[in-house]
């Protein structure tokens, strides 16, 4: 990796949103419009990966697990700390997301779920997603 190019903005605005179906029936909305965007970054590495990264936005999960005592899925709404689309030099596309839950909306239980091409973790209000594009239902 001898050479690369990057664009890095500490101020940004957005009208974007991304709807992600991780696995049936788990659905995630990442919303950047009208949200505080702390940073935008695009990097391309010679013979390496490209990364498009956002620090900011909001995420809402509607997953099948974890369940409340009433047998209903916990809702999860959090602030996105990092949302990145990664294009590997092999052509593989990954999406990675990390979010922290907003106060007053606690998830007390833990969730870890992994497929061959996706994984999701929620613990103590912290949520991380990693999956390959296109996900099961096509996140595009």
């Amino acid at each position: 990796m001898d050479q690369g190019v990057s664009l890095d903005a500490q101020q940004a605005a957005s009208s974007a949103r991304s709807e992600i179906d991780l696995w049936t029936p788990a659905h995630t909305d990442a919303v950047f419009a009208q949200e505080s965007i702390g940073r935008l970054l695009f990097t391309s590495l010679r013979d390496g990966r490209d990364v498009a990264l956002v620090n900011g936005g909001a995420i809402r999960n509607r997953w099948d697990l974890p369940l409340t005592a009433a047998g209903k899925p916990f809702s999860y709404e959090g602030k996105i700390e990092l949302f990145a689309v990664i294009a590997e030099s092999t052509g593989l596309l990954r999406v990675a997301c990390a979010a922290i839950q907003q106060p007053g909306n606690p998830v007390s239980s833990q969730k870890e779920k992994s497929h061959e091409t996706s994984s999701a973790y929620i613990a103590s209000g912290y949520c991380r997603l990693l999956f390959n594009y296109p996900s099961r239902n096509g996140a595009e």
Partner: protein, 379 residues
């Protein structure tokens, strides 16, 4: 359990390999981790296999001991840096290996970069005779640097040069480093040979260092924005023992948006925590882009170039850990407004304000400081 196996487990025991990562990546990482741990804890040898530990950890510890012994023959120090895969820190040195990505226990995507110290000709600053005590290492030159005139003029072959940063900007800590195509060190009196691969230059000596920075590789058409990029760095960088430095030669970027060329330097260099910046006259330049090669994001728009510069990284780690510099410097532009992007899989756009474009190096992910999980600590 041996401390090496214990720490190997703590650092790498819960790492998972996502799709697309070579099958042997985790095993290879653990060998370097083990060698680095052994260098930090030489009293941990010998390492006996522990039946209570996973066989892969035992195997990595054993191979790490072999690697550590091999590195000891050349006095090579190795350190391993754990970092975020999508947003790793800029490092002044070029890693010898990068492993990952891996998914860590908390679901984060991480990579591990391995850095190995390199051999240099060390130029020491010494007090004048009769007490030629070393005061500091003035610079590190490629080990094959040589003199044909009694140690007054040294010819510098392709490689890495690290120079005390205070000779470029007063009171700047650490060493500024770059890869060079060639260079020359001239001293007004003969340098004294010293033990090891080093020479002594007295504090009263006047010296001049002329360097030709290594240029980035030409575009190769392999399909990514970085592979299609052409960057030209300054042709010459001169530093004098009096603390005067001078940069000559244009800086150029093409192949990513519109072509830009900045022929003239502008004012004195300045330093921040991680780099030294040599300003260029940006004039009234505009930079525009209408699409790019990446499948991660598409960029469009036109921006005013507020500033242009050539930058060199600073290294503040202990000197005995220094390896090869990452490159011959970076071109850095500050852009005002006008840039939009679309991210793969997302509807709508992102609008960029006050954007920094960096070219060359491994791409400027961040400007935060690095911290090593194993190995050297910052001075």
């Amino acid at each position: 359990m041996n401390v090496i196996q214990d720490q190997l487990l703590a650092i790498s025991g819960r790492l998972e390999r996502p799709s697309g990562v070579p099958a042997n990546a985790l095993a290879s990482l653990r060998v370097f981790l083990s060698a680095s741990l052994i260098q930090q804890n030489p009293g941990a040898l010998p390492i006996q296999p522990d039946s209570g530990v996973d066989a892969v950890i035992n195997e990595a510890a054993a191979k790490g001991a072999v690697l550590a012994a091999k590195l000891a023959e050349t006095a090579t120090r190795v350190r391993v840096l754990r970092d975020c895969y999508v947003n790793p820190a800029v490092t002044p040195e070029r890693p010898t290996h990068v492993f990952g990505p891996f998914v860590d226990a908390d679901g984060s995507l991480v990579q591990f970069a391995v850095f190995e110290s390199a051999r240099f000709l060390t130029v020491q600053l010494t007090l004048p005779a009769p007490f030629p005590l070393v005061t500091e290492a003035l610079m590190l030159l490629p080990a094959e640097s040589s003199s044909n005139d009694g140690n007054r003029t040294f010819s510098i072959p392709p490689g890495t040069v690290w120079l005390r940063a205070r000779f470029v900007i007063g009171n700047t800590p650490g060493y500024v480093g770059l890869r060079v195509k060639n260079g020359t060190l001239k001293i007004d009196r003969a340098a004294q040979p010293r033990p090891g691969n080093s020479i002594g230059v007295t504090t009263r000596s006047q010296w001049s260092l002329a360097l030709e920075p290594e240029q980035p590789p030409e575009p190769d058409g392999n399909g990514s924005d970085a592979n299609g990029l052409t960057v030209r760095l300054p042709e010459r960088f001169d530093v004098l023992s009096t603390g005067v430095s001078q940069v000559n030669g244009r800086i150029v970027i093409s192949g990513f948006g519109s072509d830009l060329e900045f022929p003239d330097t502008l004012g004195a260099p300045f330093a921040d925590a991680d780099s030294i910046t040599f300003p260029y006259n940006a004039g009234d330049a505009l930079w525009s882009i209408d699409g790019n090669l990446s499948s991660a994001a598409q960029l469009t728009g036109e921006c005013r170039v507020i500033s242009a510069a050539w930058t060199l990284p600073l290294n503040k780690l202990p000197l005995n850990t220094f390896g090869e510099a990452v490159h011959g410097g970076s071109l850095r532009l500050r852009l005002r407004d006008g840039l939009e992007s679309r991210m793969r899989g997302a509807a709508g756009t992102f609008t960029w304000f006050d954007t920094i474009l960096t070219a060359n190096g491994p791409g400027c992910f961040t400007r935060r400081s690095t911290s090593s999980v194993l190995g050297a600590q910052r001075n």
